[in-house]
Chain length 149, copies 2
Amino acid sequence: MSDMTEQFAIMVEQGIEFVRRMGLKVIEMKPRYIELKVQLEGNTNHIGTMYAGALFTLAEIPGGALFMTTFDVSSYYPIVKEMTLKFKRPVTTDATVKVAVTEEEVENINKEAAENGKAEFVLKGEIFDDSGQLVAESTGIYQLRKLGT
Amino acid sequence: MSDMTEQFAIMVEQGIEFVRRMGLKVIEMKPRYIELKVQLEGNTNHIGTMYAGALFTLAEIPGGALFMTTFDVSSYYPIVKEMTLKFKRPVTTDATVKVAVTEEEVENINKEAAENGKAEFVLKGEIFDDSGQLVAESTGIYQLRKLGT
């Protein structure tokens, strides 16, 4: 990872105490692509599979991480307006989330934000277990807002 | 609280390490009604308001808590299939979630579970800050399943 990306990774892993407590790790963090991991240990529910709140957090953090690598942090800030998680099967291993956006999506968001001072956009994430099975899907509605508004 | 309710409260507050770490507290826990609280301290995001993952967990736990006080735990277990959180405004204080179901809703769920061995149901929750303002809304899709299935 470049020095800048390492700085971003430290912010993602350490910047929020709630996230630090669950031991979230950055696997890859670059423009338009985020991959994060959370360990099963310490994040289980009462039946030993991964607790829903840990999966939610794993799915929510990529929004902010993607903002840092992909958008103009000197002009905008992101907020999360709504988040849906679909739990497809119990998670019995560590879990990895992958979130990607296309160049075209980024251009459209930037264009709308420049015109209106804000832009709403949807990020979809997929969570996999260690065998590569899809275990959960997330849909987040975010808004980019001009700093100072 | 009755002895039984106290036992349930301990399970809710202590049973899942992830939940224990954020310091979730039971305010009220009785048949068809759950009220839980989480402190702001230790659960903030990078700008000092309550982190989305803490609000999600606060909204998710009532499903299991309500199951314990309201349904037949000797015959069924609950799973969460999908959960949506709408973040209406930044939370700058401790937060409280309230979830209630009617007697009629419980009867319908029990009837369907007895007939089909499972029953899907929706729980809506409201999260308030310490001034009583509605700060977030949750919609959870749960399923009651016959033990052993």
